[in-house]
Subunit: 250 residues, 2 copies
């Protein structure tokens, strides 16, 4: 990689609904793609249940290992939303109404509509800073390097822009995908050679079945465009030799 | 819960393609739903990169805490497929051609087609037992309580049937979903009461936006149908009182 320190992150998906299989996690993909674009690399994801002890232990184990930790889920108004209270315990901060959050929500709702359930969404570690929510009022928050976002994918997505000036990333991580009409076993050997000659480029190989067609995606990832280009050329060379059909390069 | 010991599992998704956001993980959902149906509850998922040390450490940390550990990904023919070799190191087993796997693959391919890349898929811990693959030949495998499956969702799915007689589950985990046209904040308080009166039923509340409609899914999960029915009745009671529209119960 470059000499610049790599900025690394982990994501904690808090939610029984993902563990039960009822809900497919879309937030990892949204967060990872966006974080890559600002030079932050996601290196681990954990999906854990709505259990306070588990949340506290997982956050504590990851916040010292990663530059940033993102949690999703568990910040709504119901009994199973326990992220904010758990994070308060992680940082030994009081769990109570956050003045700024309370004021935002009070303005967001019509008079008389800011009921007890909604007020719960203003309760969080009192030392937290807010992550504004342009979709539905209730803010996320962060304490030190732990950022707490909601679980609903469209709302989470709408809140990322607000983090642009808070997170400090490195060089954006670039990628290129070469889709081929071939089998992995056909390209395994020359691809290993290319990987050995291009240690700074992460090369992944993924078989796919799309509309009945079998193929392989080769994915190159690196912060340095020149290195990706070089690697790309070396791959195109053996592909040509082997007479393999290119579906697309993206 | 029941007096019967709960059987718990964790899933390790091995793959840079999920961490980069390029691929959305579908295997957790497939595996969790199927495991629930045979009475095994998934309590943690980790997504980790294709790094040997990371795979070994993660498997070692989870295999002692859970009855079963499932890995997905990294058992193909290319350089980034390092799951089988990593698992060999976890169990101090020789990583070499597995006689039975070699023989299956040799028969699967046409004469002359069983090349070096494909032969790699017969390399695994020699003490492993196989998980047959009706879709594409290359078997998965397991050692003790660690089960290694492929990353391609359709292939993984086709291999689960072969595990039916190997895994020992408890009572199937039943669930019921009540979809309502309401806000979470509207039902937060009575739902908390129902949860407090029904400790054995896991009650989740999930807001959704579907085709422009806002709603809440209440999900009840328990091994005991009678307990789900009771809990369901108590929820329907407060829903009626509050005059909330039911979209569907499933």
């Amino acid at each position: 990689m470059t000499n610049k320190k790599e900025i690394i992150a982990s994501i904690i998906i808090i939610g029984n609904e993902v563990l039960s299989g009822r809900t497919k996690d879309l937030n990892t993909s949204t967060l990872s793609i966006w974080l890559n674009s600002i030079g932050i690399s996601v290196q681990e994801v954990r999906v854990i249940p709505d259990i306070e002890r588990k949340i506290i232990d997982t956050v504590n184990s990851l916040r010292t290992k990663f530059d940033y930790v993102f949690t999703t889920g568990g910040i709504g108004p119901t009994h199973d939303d326990i992220t904010a209270e758990s994070i308060s315990k992680v940082f030994n901060s009081k769990y109570d109404f956050h003045d700024e959050a309370f004021s935002i929500l009070e303005k967001y709702y019509e008079p008389g509509e800011f009921n007890e359930g909604r007020q719960k969404m203003a309760k969080m570690p009192t030392i937290a800073k807010l992550i504004l929510n342009p979709s539905s009022g209730a803010p996320g928050f962060y304490v030190e390097n732990v950022f707490c976002l909601p679980g609903v994918p469209s709302i989470l997505k709408s809140m990322l822009g607000g983090l642009n000036n808070v997170l400090v990333g490195g060089d954006p991580i670039l990628s290129r995908t070469i889709n081929l009409k071939t089998y992995e076993s056909e390209i395994a050997k020359p691809l290993t050679n290319v990987q050995n000659n291009n240690k700074d480029v992460e090369i992944g190989s993924y078989p796919f079945f799309r509309q009945g067609k079998l193929g392989v995606s080769i994915v190159l990832r690196c912060v340095d465009k020149v290195k990706i280009d070089n690697c790309n050329s070396q791959i195109l060379e053996f592909i040509k030799e082997k007479n393999i059909e290119i579906i697309e390069i993206d």
